[in-house]
């Protein structure tokens, strides 16, 4: 048996020990590869793909690579920790520390090689799966078809072999062989509770509050300027939260004997305090990564709905036709005939209303203001099943676009203060303000009584507006008809469904990649947690074995493990959810558009996934412990 054979066999015959480290490496490679595969997708590298998207992707690729590096390094070091005893034994038998380093180096390269190859293969399958999902959920115009990514394979292979080479080299140098007795005693040594200072705990709370406060206070463009400082403050605050405040809180809890000495609490808290040093680091990483994932997906989803729902809300009708000011009557007639012909062709039944939109000069306004008569408005209201209005003869109703669309600052609030002067000298006072999107006028307008309207005189200018509401028709033909009429009327006609479709199509790949990056980050956070959980498995097995000898029921064991796992899984995610909620609120202030629903949907979705993940992980963990403890 040569030394190399010994190392090789040591890995191959000791699979159980290496499997956790191998799997986390494999997983990291897979994530990177899948990402590279999309980044180098021929459909995306075309000339017309947005430069910013490409830039964003290379940044994301870099971040993934850096995280991979730390993740592999972290897995490696805790893997080596658990093998101290083995090294001790080898050195007792006379292995030199050079040989041990060489062994670690070789082992790491073997694992790294197989993890890279396996990760690429798995990544191919994973990518196919993601594409299948994406095709069903999103409209991807430049169809992201499945391909054999030679470039991505080469890049992934080379980057990860280099990464493993670096880490193997790095670790084998760092692996200082201490005293033999220390090695043989191995992991029994106590790692020490991290020190917590009350002052730093307070600072953590203050930093977080300040960051949140600023993020929630700023509006509009200020958000951009505040973003970087707030992120820095919140990141530092989060770090201190986990390393200081949490330790401090656990100490205080331990100090309260009525709580600490109650049933299984003692086991739970003492373990928490004992592992806080490792946990704090993991919690911090997981929180930051998850926050990035939440914010990225929330932003893209929110922005998407800002575009599509914005249009939908502004256009309550299926089709509209809005003539230009200097269009001749013949042209308008011809266009409307064409639209009706298209509708007939596509077998669509639609109700139609028309209105002459008349604009008048107002004293206090620079631009002409739209004034419509109540009967005209009510016809449109009936078409869309909305509330009709009936102003008195000397009254006017001001109509603004709903606040949700325009944010709080917009709308023409000054209209309500301006009286309308009729030709017969009567002054009409605006009496109330309503919100409506029935007519395409975002600056606000008046509705007056029909009799008063007759006394307004000649308008400054006017244009025709037609609205069509589809009563019956297939979804696809509605869409096709929309496309045809938009093209044939030189875009005087607008078809809401077709416009949304167009946006979805243009936005699809960006949304997909954003979603993908978010998922990758979230899944990496999950694997961090999983790794943390399993590096404590042996300790937990020993601990529960000891207590079971004294007498611990299965129920009590489950209770302790459940809570322990729950804290590990939910503490960082809850903080990340709060971070994400604040970030998305700030974002909605930036766009001046309310995305509460979208944010709730995204954050809630992640919370549900995390809960499912928790139950699965917990189930296996409890099973593993029960198997050793109650044989």
């Amino acid at each position: 048996m040569t030394f190399r054979q010994f190392v090789f066999n040591n890995v191959l015959r000791n699979k159980r020990l290496y499997v956790a480290y191998f799997l986390s490496s494999l997983f990291t490679v897979m994530v990177f590869f899948t990402f590279a595969m999309f980044a180098f997708h021929p459909a995306l590298s075309g000339a017309d793909i947005h430069f910013s998207a490409l830039y964003g992707m290379s940044v994301a690729g870099g971040i993934i690579y850096v995280f991979s590096f730390f993740f592999v390094l972290y897995s490696m070091s805790s893997f080596l920790q658990s093998r101290k005893r083995e090294f001790g034994l080898l050195m007792t038998l006379g292995a030199s520390s050079r040989q041990i380093r060489r062994m670690v180096f070789l082992e790491n390269m073997i694992i790294g090689f197989f993890a890279t190859v396996g990760g690429i293969l798995l990544g191919l399958i994973f990518a196919k799966l993601i594409l299948l999902i994406a095709e069903n959920v999103l409209i991807i115009s430049e169809t992201l078809y499945f391909y054999v990514p030679v470039l991505a394979i080469i890049i992934t292979f080379v980057s990860f072999i280099v990464l493993f080479l670096c880490i193997s080299f790095f670790v084998s140098v760092v692996l200082r062989t201490k005293k033999l007795t220390d090695l043989i005693k191995g992991n029994k040594k106590w790692k020490g509770e991290p020190k917590a200072s009350f002052a730093l705990g307070i600072i953590a709370a203050l930093l977080l509050l300040a960051g949140y406060g600023v993020a929630l206070y700023v509006k509009g463009m200020e958000v951009l300027f505040a973003m970087v400082p707030v992120i820095i403050v919140v990141v530092i605050g989060t770090y201190l939260l986990f390393t200081q405040l949490s330790v401090y809180v656990i100490r205080r809890l331990k100090g309260n004997r009525h709580l600490f000495f109650r049933k299984t609490n003692m086991l739970l808290f003492s373990d928490l305090a004992f592992r806080m040093k490792d946990n704090a680091r993991t919690f911090f990483l997981v929180t930051i990564i998850s926050t990035v994932a939440f914010s990225a997906i929330g932003t893209l989803y929110g922005f998407h709905s800002y575009l599509t729902r914005g249009i939908k809300d502004l256009n309550p009708f299926s089709y509209t036709y809005f003539s230009f000011i200097d269009d001749s009557d013949e042209r308008i007639e011809k266009d409307v005939q064409r639209i009706n012909a298209i509708l007939q062709e596509e077998n669509i039944k639609a109700d139609m209303e028309r209105i002459e939109m008349t604009y008048y000069h107002m004293e206090a306004s620079d631009t002409p203001v739209l004034i419509v008569k109540a009967s005209d408005y009510n016809r449109f209201a009936r078409l869309n099943d909305e509330k009709e209005v009936s102003p008195d003869k000397n009254e006017a109703v001001v109509v603004n676009v709903s606040a949700r669309m325009m944010g709080s600052s917009s709308g023409n609030s000054s209209l309500i203060d301006q009286p309308i002067l009729l030709q017969n000298g009567v002054e009409i006072k605006p009496s109330e303000t309503i919100e409506s999107e029935l007519l395409p006028e975002i600056k606000g307008y008046y509705i007056v009584h029909d009799d008063a309207f007759a006394e307004l005189g000649d308008p400054l200018n006017s244009s025709s507006f037609f609205a069509f509401k589809v009563v019956e028709g297939e979804k696809e033909s509605v869409m096709d008809a929309g496309r045809k009429m938009m093209e044939q009327t030189e875009y005087r006609a607008q078809a809401i469904d077709y416009m949304v479709y167009e946006i979805d199509k243009a936005y699809g790949p960006v949304l997909f990649i954003g979603l993908f990056i978010g998922i990758v980050f979230f899944v990496s956070a999950g694997s961090f947690l999983y790794f943390r959980l399993y590096s404590d498995l042996d300790d937990d097995k020993y601990k529960f074995q000891s207590i079971t000898k004294i007498g611990l029921t299965v129920g009590e064991l489950k209770k302790v493990v459940n809570r322990q796992t729950a804290i590990l899984f939910f503490a960082p995610i809850i903080v990340a959810l709060i971070h994400g909620a604040v970030a998305l609120t700030a974002l909605s202030r930036f766009f001046d558009y309310n995305i509460t629903e979208e944010a709730l949907f995204v954050l809630g979705g992640f919370a549900v996934i995390q809960i499912v993940y928790f139950f699965i992980a917990k189930l296996f963990y409890v099973k593993q412990i029960k198997e050793t403890v109650y044989r």
């Binding site: 029994k188 040594k189 106590w190 004997r257 009525h258 000495f261 109650r262 049933k263 299984t264 609490n265 003692m266 086991l267 003492s270 373990d271 305090a273 004992f274 601990k543 000891s546 207590i547 079971t548 000898k549 004294i550 007498g551 611990l552 029921t553 299965v554 129920g555 009590e556 109650y630």
Partner: protein, 254 residues
């Protein structure tokens, strides 16, 4: 107090192994019994069966008239922490807890009142001379102190039967003496029945009776007379008799 009826244990496996054969043993309330025997004789198996950690293949165990092996898993766990006390060779203390927390653990799991727990800890720590180290962690104390902590944990809920597995196995001679004196005193004062498995004839000489087993069978037993010194001598003699091979002797004679 403790009654074993025809207890046998067979470990199933590729090669079935008979660890214990028809063991019959009875221990009176307040009695201190040591079990001795060479390595592999089945001492620890026997103790594990009595302590309900392991189950006998055939035969019955009665503790205070009850057969704990018929209990469900959960009831068994409660039985162990209420009726039995354990002292192990490797102390079996949790290193995430302080000495005091380790001692009260059985009471904590049973949901005892905090005041009551504190009172009991104070009392027992004084008896065992570990009051000064109550707030220390397990890696900050010596082996003797660790074993006394373990004894305190085993005794804090006033168990009916105290089981000790090589309690002096990891200790030096001074600490061994202290621990044995302590166990003997507890047995004397509290009238707690005590069953100890040991290799150490010195430790065994503190018992009222020593039972010897060999190859999974009861070999013999000797009672302590007036003097511990002569008892110790008797134990040594018995051990050398057991260790020697009968055939060797006869072949020399011929």
């Amino acid at each position: 107090m403790l009654q074993l009826k025809n207890v046998s244990k067979i470990y199933e496996g590729k090669v079935a192994y008979r660890a214990l054969t028809d063991i019959n043993l009875e221990i009176e309330t307040g009695e201190f019994v040591a079990i001795m025997g060479p390595s592999g004789s089945g001492k620890t198996t026997l103790l594990n069966i009595i302590s309900t950690i392991d189950e006998p293949t055939t035969g019955e165990v009665y503790i205070d008239g009850k057969n704990p092996h018929t209990l469900s898993k959960n009831k068994l766990a409660k039985f162990r922490r209420q009726e039995l006390g354990f002292v192990f060779q490797d102390f079996n203390l949790l290193h995430t807890l302080t000495v005091e927390e380790n001692i009260v653990l059985p009471l904590t799991l049973d949901g005892e009142k905090v005041k009551e727990m504190e009172r009991k800890v104070k009392q027992i720590a004084e008896k065992l001379g570990i009051s000064a180290i109550l707030n220390k962690r397990t890696y900050e104390i010596s082996g003797g102190q660790a074993q006394r902590t373990a004894i305190a944990r085993a005794m804090i809920h006033d168990p009916k039967l105290l089981l000790a597995d090589e309690p002096t196995g990891n200790l030096d001679s001074k600490a061994s003496k202290d621990v044995m004196n302590m166990l003997a005193a507890i047995n004397e004062r509290e009238k707690t029945s005590l069953l100890m498995v040991t290799h150490d004839p010195q430790a065994a000489s503190y018992a009222d009776r020593v039972v010897f087993i060999r190859d999974g069978k009861l070999h013999s037993e000797i009672y302590r007379g007036e003097s511990r010194q002569t008892f110790f001598q008797k134990i040594i003699d018995m051990l050398s008799l057991m260790g020697g091979d009968g055939n060797d002797l006869s072949s020399i004679r011929v």
